[in-house]
Amino acid sequence: MEAVVFIFSLLDCCALIFLSVYFIITLSDLECDYINARSCCSKLNKWVIPEMIGHSIVTVLMLVSLHWFIFLLNLPVVTWNIYRFIMVPSGNMGVFDPTEIHNRGQLKSHMKEAMIKLGFHLLCFFMYLYSMILALIND
């Protein structure tokens, strides 16, 4: 059972890693002017909710399967994701807003955030991998 939990987490984590890489690529495309703000933001906004759900599922799964350490590790990141989503002003077109992304260094902070998430997910990936192998051996 434990192995199944971690195999699922591992897959989910892979998806999140890919998503982070996609965010980084799209944002750097915008930085280099390969795409314009409008299409960049509409691309990214599409994936904000899937990312949030994907990450929440793992976190809840860890809580349910009583892996306290991993749960607590994930909690702040999930909270940040949800907070960011809720705090979008009503007039904005999503977490990424084409009219503001070039203002006040928002692009840089989005980029930084995506980088940090990528690192975090990579860390999680290896943790899940280790736990999965451990669980398989124990079985």
């Binding site: 002017d33 390969y34 795409i35 409008r38 299409s39 007039g91 009219t99 070039h102 203002n103 006040r104």
Partner: protein
């Protein structure tokens, strides 16, 4: 003809996007502004051939690119690129009329109707001469792009037969300069070293323009000439000396200009003097030009011999360099120039300007003089505050861009970000790029010379390394001077690239070639979307609008292709088919507002000239068509969607008139204002938009080159913060008339009439993009204004109007230690209403300084305040109003404490400020009491949001008057210090500080708030004044509502009216006058502008100073 392959454009976008990336110089890569970007914009990251260009391409411009390639060669091929949705007669017409823009001629048009002699005859140092540079004749590859055939002759001497024969009349009138024998004799040879000027800094010792010898400069003369690289096509207009507005008269001006060519002179230093804004009557003392700008041209007689001496050097040699003693020798004449004009006493600026010249010798310039603000009672000078003059040497200063168009908050740029942080002053630019100009050199040239790596346009501040190479002043790349550029059409001489008008003027306009087009230039298209619900009929704006439109129908900017359309809406949407041939307009009603469609494919936007009669019929009928309507709902959202559908094939301008909260369909809004919270001191909510519908719509519109202008005429809350989005992101403009009613509120109606007149007739640019570039090391991070930031430095402006201002925040990324000058350049690429593609380029040059004192000395307090106001608006929307207010106070506290720490010896003796910043606390206090940021005083949410919109989009001059109005006492006007404008004597009463202590019961005062004038009449006002100026026997008989001064035949009346007219002429939107009697209820409106006084909720000026001082000492 080489039709550039589709992918080339997409590829190009990438090249262009990365300025440091490799630049491939092949044909088709000329890099128009944002061209590649547009491709990416609509079609994803890697545009394929089909996805090129504007979305119009996708809709109907398929094959448009191919058509561009053929554009010149075979106009017949062009129509295939036109949208199928266009009315059939449009396609050929638009193609034809857009030809001149890219016509294969290289002519320099110089709009110089008023070129005059230089201000000061400055002796030129001996020219250094150059190292013998290779005079290799390279085939300029960019010339080949569109003119593969004829450009075979491009390498030959520009003085080809065509050019000569056309320019011939000029020779008859005046001898061409190169034939003058005087010149090579007076100052023979160039003794200086052969080395080029030190290439370390981009300071280009550009030669001062001087009049040609023996030819007295004449005011009102025009010049223009041509370089013609094409052997063919002689009869087309080669040159024109045109005023900005008169682009049409190419033919006529071509002849005219050649006769005047040699007599006018490319005098750069008189350029500023002439460039007083779009209102010729006005001397720019009302605008914010620095004092030196106002010097009229000196007597031509002495100027001519002097200039002969100056010009006396061999052509083709010599870039005058600055000699050590140059600055000091140059100073005395300029001092003399200043002193001649006592009506511009700007003493601080004058002395700071002069002090700046010799900063080393005098340790403390005037702008650094410490002032104890708590002890100095009158900080406000008696004359309007001028922009500080950058501390540059004299010839660079003369070449620099007018502060009316381009201003920086720090006229001395700190070397490092650390130094900037230490100064605690905001760094940014204030732009007014499309300002009405009376003088503007217009240049037509095959090759627009630009830096090959950063795409900067050549400007007065580049340095010529030798005759064939120039060094970019923004990225320091060394570029080749194209062959065409070697010929100077103004002097008709060869080998003087540094004398070209591009290098002599920091504000120029280029006629762009087809390289700068993604599609044929669009026609002027105007669509009016009018609210006709019951509420709108009650307000009665429709009659005013229709009347104004009828009056100005002929003055709408445009050419023969101009199109116009009308839509009205209540709970349904009404279209009007005005197709030529109908006997009367046909009204089509679409009631399905959930899925809007266009009832007929054509006939909704019609040619103004072909359907003129029908349009007039409609405009006469409209005000009475809906008088009995009972429909109270307003489906604004669906109407806008329909307007977008209607406009998207062409782009253009949509003018929306709305009178209430939209209540039906997409984009409906709820009332969010709580009237009890209007005077809350704590939280002001709902400053941001309620829905993203209008923002999305605006971005869609912006993508289709459509701007939405909003006229909100409402008596109740209409959620302007949401509605304003439609204009803010589509580069439109916003007008708001609170409690508008055609009979109950005549002053608002008058204002609407005046605004409409200006709105309908002012210049307009379509499908514009603006790019701001700055010297390597500086970077822009936040933009303010109405536009969409398409990429890091590219602003997408569907429309540009002359009343739009912009602001940019800057940061210093890399240390600027290895340069002594930095430059900023804005390039605005737009389609004029005549269907020409034009680029207006402004370049500003500023010195770099390394000490905190110099940074303080160069601070421009007005620019800083305007930038802070913009930042505060952002802050109040993204965070909260109280945060924004705190930030404003902190800005003063921080900058003054930063200054205080530099003058530590004077510490604790009071609140010290350098003279350059002495108005800073006053202006910040004024800002805190402005409608946008005030708390505690009852302010309607829409009023507040409108004030914020104005802060974001107004140019500096207007914004400054809005923040800090000018108060004058007008009951004792004298001719002392008066100025003469058009044979009229305009008295110049001194400025009074905005405090009730200055108001005396015996006086009458005029307050100039930008868009409103108040005349306050004291209770015991001199009865002579009341009788002579107002035309009433005594104070009691003055009516409560009075909006005009009668034309009385008395000296006092004449003086007052002349002063008032002079003020009114200085601004685009004619202000409304209110005569306010003391004791009348309207006086509260007047008194709320007295910012130095204490109110229940806000500090007085003195209290504010004490508060700041307390904060500093904490």
């Amino acid at each position: 003809m080489q039709a550039p392959p589709g992918p080339g454009y997409g590829l190009h976008g990438q090249d262009y996007a990365a300025p440091s990336g490799p630049y491939s110089p092949g044909p088709g890569k000329a890099g128009p502004e944002g061209q590649g970007r547009c491709g990416g914009y609509y079609s994803g990251p890697r545009p394929g051939p089909a996805g090129l260009g504007l979305a119009g391409v996708q809709r109907g411009y398929v094959g448009g690119i191919a058509a561009f390639g053929n554009y010149h060669g075979s106009p017949a091929a062009a129509p295939q690129g036109f949208p199928a949705t266009c009315s059939p007669q449009l396609a050929p017409t638009s193609c034809r009329s857009s030809l001149p823009a890219g016509s294969p001629h290289a002519s320099v048009l110089a709009a110089a109707t008023g070129w005059s002699a230089p201000l000061t005859p400055v002796p030129l140092p001996p020219p250094p001469g150059y190292s013998a540079s290779p005079w290799s004749v390279q085939a300029p590859d960019r010339l080949l792009r569109n003119h593969a055939g004829p450009s075979a002759s491009a390498g030959s001497s520009p003085a080809n037969p065509v050019a000569d024969s056309l320019a011939y009349p000029g020779r008859q009138n005046a001898p061409p300069p190169r034939s003058s024998p005087v010149m090579s004799t007076v100052l023979p040879g160039a003794p200086s070293p052969r080395a080029p000027p030190a290439g370390k800094h981009p300071r280009e010792p550009v030669a001062l323009g001087v009049p040609l010898p023996g030819l007295p400069p004449q005011k009102g003369m025009q010049y223009g000439d041509c370089v013609n690289n094409q052997a063919s096509s002689a009869p087309t207009p080669l040159s024109s000396a045109s005023d900005d507005e008169e682009e049409e008269e190419d033919e006529e001006a071509g002849v005219d200009s050649s006769s005047t060519t040699s007599s006018a002179s490319p005098v750069p230093n008189s350029y500023d003097a002439l460039e007083g804004g779009g209102y010729p009557d006005v001397h720019s003392s009302s605008a914010s030009s620095p004092a030196p700008d106002h010097a009229p041209e000196p007597d031509p007689a002495p100027a001519a011999p002097l200039s002969a001496k100056v010009m006396a050097k061999p052509f083709g040699h010599g870039y005058p360099t600055l000699q050590p003693g140059y600055q000091t020798t140059a100073a005395p004449p300029s001092a003399g120039t200043f002193a001649q004009y006592p009506q511009h006493p700007g003493v601080n600026q004058l002395s700071s300007a002069l002090g700046g010249l010799s900063l080393q010798s005098s340790p403390q310039p005037e702008s650094l003089r410490p002032i104890n603000l708590t002890q100095e009672r009158d900080v406000l000078p008696a004359t309007p505050v001028w922009a500080p003059v950058p501390n540059l040497n004299l010839d660079l200063r003369k070449l620099n861009c007018s502060p009316d168009s381009f201003r920086c908050t720090l006229t001395s740029i700190p070397q490092t970000q650390a130094l900037l942080n230490k100064a605690k002053l905001p760094l940014g630019l204030l732009l007014h790029p499309f300002r009405d100009l009376t003088q503007l050199p217009v240049i037509t040239s095959n090759t627009i010379v630009r830096c090959r790596s950063c795409r900067t346009y050549i400007n007065p501040f580049v340095s010529f390394i030798d005759q064939r190479r120039w060094k970019c002043n923004l990225c320091y790349r060394v570029n080749d001077v194209p062959e065409e550029f070697m010929y100077n059409p103004l002097t008709r001489s060869y080998g003087e690239p540094h004398k070209r008008p591009e290098v002599q003027n920091s504000t120029v306009e280029f006629i762009a070639s087809s390289d700068y087009m993604l599609r044929p230039p669009q026609p002027a298209v105007y669509l009016f979307v009018l609210d006709v619900s019951h509420n709108a009929m009650e307000a009665g704006y429709l009659a005013v609008l229709c009347q104004s439109l009828l009056e100005n129908l002929d003055k709408l900017p445009g050419d023969s292709r101009t199109r116009i359309g009308f839509m009205t809406f209540d709970s349904t949407i009404h279209f009007y088919n005005l197709q030529e041939g109908f006997s009367q307009p046909q009204m089509l009603i679409v009631s399905d507002i959930d899925d809007v469609f266009l009832p007929t494919p054509d006939g909704l936007l019609v040619n103004l000239y072909e359907s003129r009669e029908l349009i007039k019929v409609l405009l006469n009928a409209l005000p009475n068509m809906f008088t009995s309507t009972r429909e109270t709902h307003s489906a604004l959202g669906p109407a806008l969607q329909a307007a977008f559908k209607l406009m998207s094939p062409t782009g253009g301008r949509v003018s929306v008139f709305q009178t209430q909260l939209p209540s039906l369909g997409a984009g409906l809004l709820q009332s969010r204002e709580d009237p009890n919270q209007r005077s809350s001191t704590k939280v002001v909510q709902h400053l941001g938009p309620a829905t993203d519908f209008y923002k999305k719509l605006a971005l869609d519109c912006s993508g289709q080159q459509t701007a939405v202008d909003l006229f909100l005429l409402s008596s109740q809350y209409s959620d302007l913060s949401s509605l304003a989005c439609m204009s803010r992101y589509s580069a439109g403009c916003i007008y708001y008339y609170p409690s508008f009613h055609c009979t109950h509120n005549p002053s608002q109606m008058e204002k609407l009439q005046k605004d409409l007149k200006r709105y309908l007739t002012r210049k307009i640019g379509f499908e514009a993009v603006m790019r701001i570039r700055c010297t390597k090391g500086l970077s822009m991070h936040t933009f303010h204004g109405n536009f969409f930031v398409r990429s890091t430095d590219l602003l997408s402006l569907a429309n540009i109007n002359p009343d739009a201002g912009f602001a940019v925040q800057l940061s210093i990324e890399e240390s600027l230690t290895d340069t002594s000058l930095v430059c900023f350049q804005t390039a605005l690429l737009y389609t004029s209403s005549k269907g020409e593609r034009r680029i207006r380029v402004h370049t500003l040059c500023l010195p770099v300084v390394s000490s905190l004192a110099e940074v303080h000395a160069g601070a421009d307090v007005q620019a800083a305040i305007c930038l802070l106001a913009n930042m505060a608006v952002d802050r109040s929307i993204s965070s909260s109003l109280s945060d924004a207010r705190d930030a404003l106070v902190n800005a003063v506290v921080d900058s003054l404490s930063a200054y205080g720490s530099t003058v530590s010896n004077l510490r604790h003796s009071g609140l010290m400020a350098p003279a350059s910043l002495k108005l800073f606390p006053l202006y910040v206090l004024a800002l805190l009491k402005q409608k946008a940021f005030r708390t505690g005083t009852s302010t309607r949410l829409d009023d507040r949001v409108y004030a914020m919109c104005q802060i974001k989009s107004q140019p500096l001059v207007h914004l400054m008057r809005m923040i800090h109005p000018n108060l004058h006492r007008i009951d004792r006007l004298t001719d002392e210090g008066a100025i003469h404008v058009n044979d009229r004597v305009v008295p110049q009463p001194p400025l009074q500080k905005l405090s009730a202590e200055k108001l005396t019961r015996e006086g009458a005062f005029l307050m100039d708030c930008g868009s409103v004038f108040y005349i306050w009449i004291g209770k015991d006002c001199d009865s002579n004044f009341i009788e002579d100026v107002l035309g009433f026997p005594n104070f009691a008989s003055i009516p409560q509502k009075m909006t005009h001064l009668p034309e009385l035949d008395t000296l006092a009346s004449e003086r007052t009216r002349s002063f008032l007219t002079w003020l009114q002429d200085s601004r685009p939107l004619s202000p409304v006058l209110h005569v306010v009697k003391d004791e009348s209820p309207a006086k509260m409106e007047f008194f709320q502008h007295l910012v130095e006084d204490r109110t229940e909720a806000a500090f007085s000026y003195y209290e504010f100073l004490l508060h700041v001082q307390q904060q500093i000492s904490k």
